[in-house]
Symmetry: C2
Subunit: 123 residues, 2 copies
Protein backbone atom coordinates (compact mmCIF):
# COMPACT_ATOMS: atom_id res chain seq x y z
CA UNK A 1 0.00 0.00 0.00
CA UNK A 2 1.62 3.17 -1.22
CA UNK A 3 0.46 6.62 -0.16
CA UNK A 4 1.77 9.52 -2.24
CA UNK A 5 1.50 13.04 -0.79
CA UNK A 6 2.20 16.42 -2.36
CA UNK A 7 1.85 15.09 -5.90
CA UNK A 8 1.47 17.42 -8.87
CA UNK A 9 -2.26 18.18 -8.98
CA UNK A 10 -2.52 18.36 -12.80
CA UNK A 11 -0.97 14.90 -13.19
CA UNK A 12 -3.41 13.37 -10.70
CA UNK A 13 -6.33 14.53 -12.82
CA UNK A 14 -4.89 13.49 -16.19
CA UNK A 15 -6.38 10.08 -16.99
CA UNK A 16 -4.08 9.50 -20.00
CA UNK A 17 -1.02 10.22 -17.88
CA UNK A 18 -2.24 8.04 -15.00
CA UNK A 19 -2.97 5.15 -17.35
CA UNK A 20 0.44 5.39 -19.06
CA UNK A 21 2.19 5.68 -15.67
CA UNK A 22 0.36 2.71 -14.12
CA UNK A 23 1.08 0.48 -17.14
CA UNK A 24 4.74 1.51 -17.00
CA UNK A 25 4.80 0.76 -13.25
CA UNK A 26 3.37 -2.71 -13.97
CA UNK A 27 6.16 -3.32 -16.51
CA UNK A 28 8.82 -2.07 -14.09
CA UNK A 29 7.37 -4.41 -11.44
CA UNK A 30 7.82 -7.26 -13.99
CA UNK A 31 4.08 -7.97 -13.83
CA UNK A 32 2.13 -9.66 -16.61
CA UNK A 33 -0.64 -7.28 -17.66
CA UNK A 34 -3.99 -9.00 -18.27
CA UNK A 35 -6.39 -6.06 -18.56
CA UNK A 36 -6.76 -2.47 -17.46
CA UNK A 37 -9.55 -0.08 -16.68
CA UNK A 38 -9.39 3.64 -15.88
CA UNK A 39 -12.13 6.06 -14.96
CA UNK A 40 -12.20 9.85 -14.81
CA UNK A 41 -14.39 11.24 -12.08
CA UNK A 42 -16.16 14.58 -12.27
CA UNK A 43 -15.15 17.22 -11.21
CA UNK A 44 -11.78 15.57 -10.52
CA UNK A 45 -10.04 12.34 -9.61
CA UNK A 46 -9.03 9.21 -11.47
CA UNK A 47 -9.47 5.57 -10.50
CA UNK A 48 -7.68 2.78 -12.27
CA UNK A 49 -7.05 -0.93 -12.06
CA UNK A 50 -4.48 -3.00 -13.87
CA UNK A 51 -5.32 -6.67 -13.54
CA UNK A 52 -2.06 -8.60 -13.66
CA UNK A 53 -1.49 -12.34 -13.71
CA UNK A 54 0.03 -11.88 -10.24
CA UNK A 55 -3.14 -10.08 -8.89
CA UNK A 56 -3.64 -6.30 -9.36
CA UNK A 57 -2.34 -2.76 -9.21
CA UNK A 58 -4.80 -0.02 -8.33
CA UNK A 59 -4.80 3.74 -8.05
CA UNK A 60 -7.20 6.34 -6.74
CA UNK A 61 -6.27 9.99 -6.97
CA UNK A 62 -7.55 13.01 -5.05
CA UNK A 63 -6.14 16.02 -6.95
CA UNK A 64 -7.81 18.34 -4.42
CA UNK A 65 -5.52 16.82 -1.76
CA UNK A 66 -2.44 16.33 -4.01
CA UNK A 67 -2.80 12.71 -2.86
CA UNK A 68 -2.89 9.27 -4.49
CA UNK A 69 -3.50 5.85 -2.93
CA UNK A 70 -1.93 2.92 -4.74
CA UNK A 71 -2.20 -0.81 -4.04
CA UNK A 72 0.18 -3.34 -5.48
CA UNK A 73 -1.29 -6.75 -4.70
CA UNK A 74 0.85 -9.70 -5.79
CA UNK A 75 1.01 -13.42 -5.22
CA UNK A 76 4.47 -13.58 -6.81
CA UNK A 77 7.79 -13.15 -5.03
CA UNK A 78 9.50 -12.39 -8.34
CA UNK A 79 7.85 -9.03 -8.82
CA UNK A 80 9.94 -5.91 -8.28
CA UNK A 81 7.46 -3.92 -6.20
CA UNK A 82 10.13 -1.59 -4.76
CA UNK A 83 11.21 -0.34 -8.19
CA UNK A 84 7.58 0.24 -9.18
CA UNK A 85 7.01 2.30 -6.01
CA UNK A 86 10.13 4.40 -6.65
CA UNK A 87 8.99 4.99 -10.23
CA UNK A 88 5.44 5.96 -9.20
CA UNK A 89 6.71 8.39 -6.57
CA UNK A 90 8.92 10.16 -9.12
CA UNK A 91 6.35 10.09 -11.94
CA UNK A 92 3.64 11.74 -9.83
CA UNK A 93 6.22 14.12 -8.32
CA UNK A 94 5.29 13.16 -4.76
CA UNK A 95 6.94 15.15 -1.98
CA UNK A 96 6.26 12.51 0.67
CA UNK A 97 5.30 8.87 0.63
CA UNK A 98 4.42 6.01 2.91
CA UNK A 99 4.72 2.31 2.07
CA UNK A 100 3.11 -0.50 4.07
CA UNK A 101 3.40 -4.21 3.41
CA UNK A 102 0.48 -6.38 4.38
CA UNK A 103 0.62 -10.15 4.09
CA UNK A 104 -2.59 -11.67 2.75
CA UNK A 105 -3.82 -15.21 3.27
CA UNK A 106 -2.56 -16.88 6.42
CA UNK A 107 -1.20 -20.27 5.30
CA UNK A 108 -1.61 -21.76 8.79
CA UNK A 109 -5.27 -20.78 8.78
CA UNK A 110 -5.73 -22.29 5.29
CA UNK A 111 -4.23 -25.57 6.58
CA UNK A 112 -6.15 -25.51 9.89
CA UNK A 113 -9.53 -25.00 8.21
CA UNK A 114 -8.77 -27.73 5.66
CA UNK A 115 -7.77 -30.19 8.42
CA UNK A 116 -11.01 -29.43 10.31
CA UNK A 117 -13.06 -30.08 7.18
CA UNK A 118 -11.22 -33.34 6.52
CA UNK A 119 -11.84 -34.50 10.12
CA UNK A 120 -15.50 -33.53 9.80
CA UNK A 121 -15.90 -35.62 6.63
CA UNK A 122 -14.25 -38.63 8.28
CA UNK A 123 -16.50 -38.54 11.36
Amino acid sequence: MLELYGCKKELLNDIAFIKKTMLEAAKIAKATIVQQYFHQFSPYGVSGTVIIAESHINIHTWPEHDYAAIDIFTCSEDMDVDSACTFLKKALKAKQHDIKDYKRGNLEMIKKVRDLQTQHRHQ
Copy 2:
Protein backbone atom coordinates in the same frame (compact mmCIF):
# COMPACT_ATOMS: atom_id res chain seq x y z
CA MET B 1 -9.34 -6.30 3.82
CA LEU B 2 -11.35 -9.48 4.12
CA GLU B 3 -9.77 -12.93 4.13
CA LEU B 4 -12.13 -15.85 3.59
CA TYR B 5 -10.91 -19.35 4.51
CA GLY B 6 -12.49 -22.76 3.93
CA CYS B 7 -14.70 -21.48 1.10
CA LYS B 8 -16.47 -23.84 -1.26
CA LYS B 9 -13.86 -24.64 -3.91
CA GLU B 10 -16.30 -24.88 -6.84
CA LEU B 11 -17.73 -21.42 -6.11
CA LEU B 12 -14.25 -19.86 -6.04
CA ASN B 13 -13.60 -21.07 -9.58
CA ASP B 14 -16.99 -20.07 -11.02
CA ILE B 15 -16.48 -16.68 -12.68
CA ALA B 16 -20.22 -16.14 -13.28
CA PHE B 17 -20.97 -16.80 -9.61
CA ILE B 18 -18.09 -14.59 -8.42
CA LYS B 19 -19.23 -11.75 -10.67
CA LYS B 20 -22.85 -11.99 -9.52
CA THR B 21 -21.76 -12.20 -5.87
CA MET B 22 -19.40 -9.22 -6.05
CA LEU B 23 -22.02 -7.04 -7.77
CA GLU B 24 -24.55 -8.05 -5.12
CA ALA B 25 -22.00 -7.23 -2.39
CA ALA B 26 -21.48 -3.78 -3.96
CA LYS B 27 -25.24 -3.19 -3.86
CA ILE B 28 -25.48 -4.37 -0.25
CA ALA B 29 -22.63 -2.00 0.62
CA LYS B 30 -24.72 0.79 -0.97
CA ALA B 31 -21.93 1.48 -3.44
CA THR B 32 -22.46 3.13 -6.82
CA ILE B 33 -21.18 0.71 -9.46
CA VAL B 34 -19.20 2.39 -12.25
CA GLN B 35 -17.65 -0.56 -14.08
CA GLN B 36 -16.59 -4.13 -13.48
CA TYR B 37 -14.04 -6.53 -14.83
CA PHE B 38 -13.58 -10.24 -14.07
CA HIS B 39 -10.95 -12.67 -15.28
CA GLN B 40 -10.78 -16.47 -15.15
CA PHE B 41 -7.29 -17.84 -14.67
CA SER B 42 -6.12 -21.19 -15.98
CA PRO B 43 -6.11 -23.79 -14.49
CA TYR B 44 -8.07 -22.11 -11.67
CA GLY B 45 -8.72 -18.84 -9.87
CA VAL B 46 -10.76 -15.75 -10.55
CA SER B 47 -9.79 -12.09 -10.22
CA GLY B 48 -12.32 -9.32 -10.31
CA THR B 49 -12.64 -5.61 -9.76
CA VAL B 50 -15.76 -3.55 -9.32
CA ILE B 51 -14.94 0.13 -9.72
CA ILE B 52 -17.39 2.06 -7.59
CA ALA B 53 -17.85 5.83 -7.29
CA GLU B 54 -16.54 5.42 -3.72
CA SER B 55 -13.31 3.62 -4.91
CA HIS B 56 -13.25 -0.16 -5.55
CA ILE B 57 -14.08 -3.70 -4.48
CA ASN B 58 -11.67 -6.44 -5.50
CA ILE B 59 -11.46 -10.19 -5.24
CA HIS B 60 -8.81 -12.79 -5.92
CA THR B 61 -9.63 -16.44 -5.38
CA TRP B 62 -7.35 -19.43 -4.84
CA PRO B 63 -9.66 -22.47 -5.18
CA GLU B 64 -6.69 -24.77 -4.47
CA HIS B 65 -6.50 -23.20 -0.98
CA ASP B 66 -10.29 -22.70 -0.49
CA TYR B 67 -9.24 -19.08 0.02
CA ALA B 68 -10.33 -15.67 -1.26
CA ALA B 69 -8.82 -12.23 -0.62
CA ILE B 70 -11.23 -9.32 -0.89
CA ASP B 71 -10.56 -5.57 -0.63
CA ILE B 72 -13.28 -3.05 -0.05
CA PHE B 73 -11.72 0.36 -0.56
CA THR B 74 -14.02 3.29 0.09
CA CYS B 75 -13.76 7.03 0.56
CA SER B 76 -17.36 7.20 1.79
CA GLU B 77 -18.52 6.81 5.38
CA ASP B 78 -22.04 6.03 4.19
CA MET B 79 -21.17 2.64 2.75
CA ASP B 80 -22.28 -0.45 4.64
CA VAL B 81 -19.05 -2.42 4.47
CA ASP B 82 -19.95 -4.71 7.39
CA SER B 83 -23.11 -6.00 5.68
CA ALA B 84 -21.18 -6.62 2.46
CA CYS B 85 -18.56 -8.64 4.38
CA THR B 86 -21.23 -10.73 6.11
CA PHE B 87 -22.91 -11.39 2.75
CA LEU B 88 -19.62 -12.37 1.06
CA LYS B 89 -18.70 -14.74 3.87
CA LYS B 90 -22.05 -16.53 3.59
CA ALA B 91 -22.15 -16.52 -0.22
CA LEU B 92 -18.73 -18.17 -0.54
CA LYS B 93 -19.54 -20.50 2.37
CA ALA B 94 -16.40 -19.49 4.28
CA LYS B 95 -15.65 -21.42 7.47
CA GLN B 96 -13.33 -18.74 8.86
CA HIS B 97 -12.69 -15.11 8.09
CA ASP B 98 -10.48 -12.24 9.09
CA ILE B 99 -11.29 -8.55 8.63
CA LYS B 100 -8.76 -5.75 8.92
CA ASP B 101 -9.44 -2.04 8.59
CA TYR B 102 -6.69 0.12 7.23
CA LYS B 103 -7.00 3.90 7.05
CA ARG B 104 -5.63 5.38 3.83
CA GLY B 105 -4.42 8.93 3.31
CA ASN B 106 -3.16 10.64 6.43
CA LEU B 107 -4.95 14.03 6.49
CA GLU B 108 -2.26 15.56 8.72
CA MET B 109 0.39 14.57 6.18
CA ILE B 110 -1.71 16.02 3.33
CA LYS B 111 -1.93 19.32 5.24
CA LYS B 112 1.74 19.30 6.30
CA VAL B 113 3.03 18.74 2.75
CA ARG B 114 0.68 21.44 1.42
CA ASP B 115 1.85 23.95 4.06
CA LEU B 116 5.48 23.22 3.21
CA GLN B 117 4.80 23.79 -0.48
CA THR B 118 2.98 27.06 0.25
CA GLN B 119 5.90 28.26 2.42
CA HIS B 120 8.33 27.30 -0.32
CA ARG B 121 6.42 29.32 -2.93
CA HIS B 122 6.37 32.37 -0.65
CA GLN B 123 10.11 32.34 0.00
